[in-house]
Amino acid sequence: MNSLKTFITLLFSLGTLSLSAQNFSLSGYLRDSATGEELPFANVVVKGTTIGVNTNAYGFYTISLPAGDHVLLFQFLGYQTLEKKISLQKNERLSVELPLETKTLEEVVISGEAANANVVKNEMSVVSLSPKSIETIPVLFGEKDILKTLQLMPGVSSTGEGNTGFYVRGGSSDQNLIILDEAPVYNASHLLGFFSVFNSDAVKSLKLYKSGIPAEYGGRLSSVLDVKMNNGNDRKFGAEGGVGLISSRLTLEGPLKKNRGSFIVSGRRTYADLFLKLSSDPALKDSKLYFYDLNAKLNYRIGERDRLYLSGYFGRDVFESSGIFGLDWGNGTGTLRWNHLFSDRFFSNTSIIFSDYTYNIGLTSGSTPFDITAGIQDWNFKQDFNLALSNNNQLKFGFNIIRHDFTPGTLTPTGGNINFNAIIVPGRVAVETGTYVSYEQKLGERLQLTYGLRMSTFSNVGAMTEYQFESGQEVPFDSVTYGSGTFYNTQVGWEPRFNANFVINKKSSLKVSYNRTYQYLHLLSNSSAGSPTDVWIPTTPIVKPEIADQVALGYFRNFNDNKYESSVEVYYKNLDNQIDYKNGAEILLNPYLESQLVFGKGYAYGMEFFLKKRYGRFNGWVGYTLSTTRRVFEEINNGEPFSARQDRRHDISLVGMYKVNDRWELSATWVYNTGDAVTFPTGQYKVEDRRISVYSERNGYRMPSYHRMDFGATLQGKKTKKFESSWNFSVYNMYGRYNAFFIRFEENEDNPEQVDAIQTSLFSFVPAITYNFKF
């Protein structure tokens, strides 16, 4: 503890030393003036210069300036820019509140510096969204969902029809680190993926890194999705909610103590199953099918230097069929955070994070009822430091340590008149750590660099018996047993991270990034559609850590006074120690699970185009991705590279929003992508008079190409001081295309000698209506 103190003191003095004598620091928080919410990654700029800094993830900034008078601009997208004159004679604290931008039909004029943030920030392959900005985009069942909007961005694609799962630049869906207030969410979907766990009323912002992942993040290969929950209004009590076709939601927020602390509680529940009661089909009538989720957050400022946050999420899906069969699954997360200012330049965040995912399957009828449970649980301690050495030099460093508890699965008989054996696949424990340092540097007016290094480690912890398998064998030939508390199979990963931005001029820049990432947890999912019963396993002596390297290069250019922003990015990604399955692999309840896996490599490369119109009555964007994604496994496809399922050559998204008048806003989206790579028969033969398909190449065919148009309209109700409301109308898949969700092969009922290809389509022309209110 003492050495830590000394270290911190040293760093603090380092920060002080680096200041030139006449400079003072100005620091504080940027907040929303109506709610008191902090504004992360906002800009603080000295007017008429290029001197500027950003607020950190907690809305805190530090800028160092010479003594004297300055005019500062405080800017955040969607908010009015605030101009403040200050006279700096000593280190000072200045917290600023920005009012929301009042939308008028006329084009909003925003001063240049903030509007070209996409060009001048040393950040590429990043998507930032706030639920507010996507409110009017039409979605399935009118259930607005940030993950679905994210899929409209280049480089991000959906795992399937109506699904919230996503692939980033050729990575698998388990290679995205999805964190909610720093807590990893192990299964971010409800109802088999048709809805995400993120209730947009509870979400403040999200940021997705497709490459150039900062050193403070680790644990997944392909991307980081950082979702932040609303803090709640610390000025006044309020409520907002909505009543939709299949769910309702309600959010309550208010001050714990005015201007000091606030709470927010946000809940949502679907009621599709209430409609089931009306069904004439008894199988539907007696079934349950719903999900609910609850987000809650408290925060409190203790003096000027300390702030505490406590946030939690709990959600569950329940499916029950007529008291015969049941399946339920869900996540719980909790985060306790403490922000502390050691000085105006030295910011610290300490977090204790909990995350839990479990599922249960139960057969409750018949003579052999049983219950299956499995899951994963994390406890994580995380410490981050942020040291503003000067306006042009920032140092970030920190560490975290996670204990993972894996429950791969147990099956227990639950009564019944026939006896059978329980299956208990032994649980595993592992410890993962990350230590990082990252340096942000501005070199002159044009060049910005961020370079960092993350060292990750991963150890299995006994008591455990590790099996060894001869290649191709399912039964072990040997085993090694480790005692309780023994650390073994320790893996160390060095993960360099690098970002550079060369600002050509105010309108254009050239950016490059490189990152190496390690992933020690692996989601086993031997099905084409993701399932709640997919199981997370750790790295073991047999399963190696997955490793990825990615380089990306981008050109960013704004037009027409920043009214249009555009970018072109190219990337190449190499993936090592990827996991696939042997034919007929048995994953569930298999104590020799590792014998079912095969290991190989992958690579992906592509080009992403993005053009966005940001202001005006009409705005929206166009995204296009041209990409290739391949995997290479010795045991699959005779060792020849094959297309990964998500290898979609072309992917196009068009999004348009049009404000007709003060009350009506219209929107439309259109998406197109090449069909997924899929394995179809390449022949047939007969066994016992049944026609059986022959398969000869992995993913050698394509599903039909996918396209769809959605349409939405939002009508604002009469606004009063105390009450706002709106109606949202939407149509999903407007021209009713039957997109292929799945194609199967089945003997024709009338003629068993003919096997038909049968295409299942899920949603064609789904209208929805939602009523939203706020008071």
């Binding site: 088999l192 069929s321 022949g683 033969y685």
Partner: protein, 261 residues
């Protein structure tokens, strides 16, 4: 299956749609299909065909193949060609616990397999009863259930065939003893249109693991659904690669006459 059920259940509520589509499929090189069986106390049988195009009107038989079966003590026999690519033994009969090798030669190609005849597991009882699990809205049916006692401490695999009035009910039905090791195992099948005085006969065939994997593979191909993994040619015991399997089995059979409710 459960996953599929769940997805289709949910989608069924909404707006799912199924249609037969025209899908152009390529045809890979022809593969030998070597499908045969050898049961305890019985002679060997095999049919040799070639795979063909998807929905081909017929598949080619392989004539003139030389198929030899040999036991572990040097006894052997060349199967006699019948017709339509079918071959059968006449003398060599399967004995439980014995190793056998089978070799198929045709036009310079040779396929081999080695297998062991499993021990017999007898059926303790066969009953006809009302279906135990009936989903609401389904017509309750009768089901035939066999009970048999699994030998403990070893892995056992079974194929079960049901006959209604001596007509085999189609489908590949197999089970292992993962949760029933050493216990009495129930195995049931709902029987459509079962009338008084109908006969139901059940064959319990003890098989090897590879045969179990093979039948599981066939069932997966025949029942592809969104929860399925990537489809594959079923695992079998042929080397080099061929389709089909040579299944050694030990059959116990029992029957009842349904007396009505």
């Amino acid at each position: 299956m459960k996953r599929y059920y769940l997805i289709m259940f949910f989608c069924g509520l909404l707006a799912s749609c199924e249609q037969v589509i025209d899908l152009p499929l390529r045809t890979s090189d022809q593969l030998y299909v070597l499908d045969g069986h050898f049961h305890e106390g019985d002679t060997a049988y095999m049919q040799v065909t070639l795979s063909g195009a998807f929905n081909a009107s017929s598949f080619n038989f392989v004539e003139g193949a030389q198929i030899m079966i040999a036991g572990q003590n040097g006894e052997s026999e060349i199967l006699q060609e019948l017709d339509s690519g079918r071959y059968a033994g006449r003398f060599l009969k399967g004995e439980a616990g014995k190793q056998y090798t089978i070799q198929v030669m045709h036009q310079g190609k040779t396929f081999n397999t080695q297998a062991e005849m499993p021990a017999k597991v007898t059926i303790d009882s066969l009953i006809i009863r009302d279906e135990e699990i009936v989903f609401p809205g389904q017509e309750p049916k009768k089901e035939a259930v066999i009970f048999f006692t699994d030998p403990g401490g070893v892995e056992n695999y079974y194929r079960v065939k049901f006959y209604h009035n001596e007509e085999e009910l189609i489908g590949f039905r197999v089970t292992d003893d993962q949760v029933f090791d050493g216990r009495q195992i129930p195995f049931n099948l709902a029987i459509e249109d079962l009338l008084p005085n109908d006969t139901v006969r059940v064959e319990l065939i003890a098989i090897e693991q590879v045969a179990y994997d093979y039948y599981v593979g066939l069932v997966e191909i025949l029942n592809l659904n969104p929860g399925s993994g990537v489809p594959y040619n079923p695992i079998n015991n042929w080397s080099p690669e061929a389709l089909g399997n040579f299944t050694l089995g030990n059959i116990d059979s029992t029957g009842v006459i349904f007396r009505g409710d």
